[in-house]
C-alpha cells in the first residue's frame, strides 16, 4: 500500500498473455483480421481505437467469453478455450446485479472477509455510505465506480478494463487513475485498459496499442516515470500526438 516503486515488480500475481494471429468475424464482418500480441506478466497495456474497432471483442476473447474464428489466445501458457478463472473483466456497461445492494455487487464473488474488502473498495472509489443502496438509484458515474470497485477487489491474474472511466468527471477520473495505478503497482496483475482517451492511456500504461481496421497499427512503449502528471512531461505530449495520428 505504501510501496510506490517505478520498476515493474516481477513477483506479482500477473500472468503472461499472448494472442497468436487472432481473427474474429461476425458473419461477413471481419472485426479482427489477425492480431498478434505478446504481453509479459504484470504489464499494463492500454488499447485505443475507433468506436466499433474491435476493442471489446479482444477483451471478450481474452476472458474466454468468445472464441476466435482462427488463431489462439494463450494465458499463462494455456490456450484459452472457455472461461478463464484467472481473468476479471470490467464490462463497458456496468452490469450490476439489480437485486444485490451496492456492497453485494462489489463482493459478488463472496471471497473471505468480502464485506470488509468491499467496504474498503467502495471507500476507495468514493462511494462510502452507499453500501446498502440498490444499483437502480445510482447515477451513471456511480454505477461505473461500483463496477470498478468490483473489478479491483478481485486481484486477478489478468485484469481487463473496458472503458472504466468513461462516465466520470475529470477529477473523479484522476482519483480513479491513481487508485488503479496503486493497486496495479501493489499486485502487478497483467492489465489491459481500453480507453478512448489517449491522455489516459499515456498516463497509466506501460505500453499503448492502437487498434485500427482489425490490426495493431501501433505498439508503443511508454517509459515515463511514475507517478505521471499530465502536461508536465513534454515527451508525453509528443507520444499523444503520435498515437492520435495513428488512430
Amino acid at each position: 500500500m505504501t510501496e510506490t516503486t517505478d520498476e515493474p515488480r516481477r513477483g506479482g500475481i500477473g500472468l503472461p498473455l499472448r494472442l497468436d494471429s487472432v481473427t474474429r468475424s461476425f458473419g461477413s464482418l471481419k472485426v479482427l483480421k489477425g492480431v498478434t500480441l505478446d504481453i509479459p506478466r504484470g504489464q499494463f497495456v492500454a488499447i485505443v481505437g475507433r468506436s466499433g474497432g474491435g476493442k471489446t471483442t479482444i477483451l471478450r476473447l481474452v476472458a474466454g467469453l468468445d472464441l476466435p474464428t482462427s488463431g489462439s489466445v494463450v494465458i499463462g501458457g494455456e490456450v484459452v478455450c472457455g472461461l478463464q478463472p484467472s481473468v476479471r473483466l470490467l464490462f463497458q456497461d456496468a452490469r450490476l446485479l439489480p437485486w444485490q445492494t451496492v456492497i453485494g455487487n462489489v463482493g459478488v464473488a463472496r471471497g473471505k472477509d468480502w464485506k470488509e474488502t468491499a467496504r474498503a473498495a467502495l471507500e476507495d472509489v468514493g462511494l462510502a455510505g452507499r453500501e446498502n443502496d440498490w444499483p437502480a438509484v445510482l447515477s451513471g458515474g456511480q454505477r461505473q465506480r461500483v463496477a470498478l470497485a468490483r473489478a479491483l477487489v478481485s486481484r486477478p491474474g489478468v485484469l481487463l478494463l473496458d472503458e472504466p472511466f468513461g462516465a466520470l468527471d475529470a477529477l473523479t477520473r484522476l482519483e480513479m487513475h491513481k487508485l488503479t495505478e496503486r493497486l496495479w503497482q501493489e499486485n502487478r496483475f497483467t492489465t489491459i485498459l481500453i480507453t478512448h482517451d489517449v491522455a489516459e492511456a499515456v498516463a497509466l500504461a506501460d505500453r499503448v496499442l492502437v487498434l485500427r481496421e482489425g490490426h495493431i497499427a501501433l505498439d508503443i512503449p511508454i517509459d515515463l516515470p511514475r507517478p505521471r502528471r499530465e502536461h508536465i512531461d513534454p515527451k508525453s505530449a509528443e507520444i499523444k500526438a503520435r498515437i492520435l495520428k495513428e488512430v
Binding site: A63, L97, P98, W99, Q100, V108, R150
Partner: protein, 264 residues
C-alpha cells in the same frame, strides 16, 4: 398524512368493490325472482349455509383436510416443477430431452388420468396428493423455465467472469433474475392446487372441500355448491395475498414490485 391514510384505506377497499357489487346484484336478482332461488340461492341463503357449516365444524374439517392435501401436493409438485424448470433452463440437453415430454404430459386431463392414478397410487391420500402435485407442477415448470431462460445474459457473463461457481451463479444471479416469473408460476400453482382437489376428491373421499362441493352437487344442494364456490374464491384471494406478500419481500429490489413503484 390524513390524505395518505384515506387513500390507503381506499386502495385496500377498492379490490373488494367488484365482488361486493356482484353479491348485491345477485341478492337483488334473487329477491326479485329473476333467478329461481332453488337454482341459484340468494347470498343470504348461502350465508346461512355458511354459518351452519361453521357452527357444526364441518367447514373447518373440510377445508383443513383439503388444505393438508393441497399443501402436500404443492410441496411435491411445486418442488418438482421448479426443479425441472431449473434443469431445463440451465442445461440445454435436459431441455431437449424433457421439455417436450412435459408439454405432452401437461395436456393430459386429470379426469381422464384418474384410472391410471388409481392403478399407481390406489384410492387413498397418495392418489389425491399426486393429482395435486401433477397439477401444480406444470405452471411452476413453465414459468421457472421461462424466467431462467430470459435472465439477462450479460449478468450471467459477468458472474461467470467474476468466478462464481455453478451454485453461486444459480443462487445469486439466475434465481433472483427468474424470481418474478417463478412468482407468477407460484400464483398460478396456488390456484391450480385447489382446483385439482375437486377432481382428486372424487376419488373415494369423504371429506375435503372438493368432496363437499361435488357431493352437494350430486344432491342438488345448491346453497352448499355456491358456498363451495365462494370458499374456493376466498382461498384464491388468500393465495393471492400470500403471493403478493412474498413478491414484495423477494422482489423488493424490483421497480415493478415496489409499493409506490407506479406513482413516482
Amino acid at each position: 398524512m390524513r390524505q395518505g391514510f384515506l387513500s390507503r384505506v381506499g386502495t385496500s377497499l377498492a379490490p373488494w368493490a367488484l365482488p361486493v357489487l356482484l353479491v348485491v346484484a345477485w341478492e337483488i336478482a334473487c329477491n326479485a325472482g329473476i333467478v329461481s332461488q332453488r337454482v341459484l340461492p340468494a347470498p343470504s341463503q348461502v350465508a346461512a349455509a355458511f354459518w351452519a357449516a361453521i357452527w357444526d365444524g364441518t367447514l373447518f374439517e373440510h377445508v383443513g383436510i383439503s388444505a393438508q392435501r393441497a399443501l402436500q401436493g404443492l410441496m411435491i409438485g411445486g418442488g418438482a416443477g421448479f426443479f425441472l424448470g431449473v434443469l431445463c433452463g440451465v442445461l440445454r440437453p435436459a431441455e431437449v430431452l424433457i421439455d417436450s415430454s412435459l408439454q405432452m404430459l401437461r395436456n393430459v386431463p386429470h379426469l381422464a388420468m384418474i384410472p391410471l392414478v388409481i392403478i399407481w397410487f390406489g384410492i387413498d391420500e397418495e392418489a389425491k396428493v399426486f393429482l395435486v402435485a401433477i397439477g401444480v407442477m406444470f405452471p411452476m415448470y413453465l414459468n421457472t423455465y421461462h424466467g431462467i431462460r430470459t435472465v439477462d445474459k450479460g449478468l450471467i457473463e459477468m458472474a461467470k467472469v467474476y468466478g462464481l461457481g455453478p451454485f453461486a451463479l444459480f443462487r445469486r444471479v439466475i434465481l433472483p433474475g427468474a424470481m418474478s416469473s417463478v412468482m407468477v408460476g407460484l400464483r398460478y400453482a396456488l390456484g391450480i392446487m385447489w382446483l385439482t382437489l375437486i377432481v382428486a376428491e372424487t376419488i373415494s373421499a369423504s371429506s375435503g372441500i372438493g368432496y363437499m362441493t361435488m357431493n352437494a352437487r350430486e344432491f342438488l344442494q345448491t346453497d352448499v355448491v355456491v358456498l363451495g364456490i365462494l370458499i374456493y374464491a376466498l382461498l384464491g384471494k388468500l393465495a393471492d395475498v400470500l403471493t403478493r406478500a412474498l413478491e414484495r419481500r423477494l422482489l423488493s429490489w424490483h421497480p415493478a414490485y415496489q409499493v409506490k413503484g407506479r406513482t413516482a
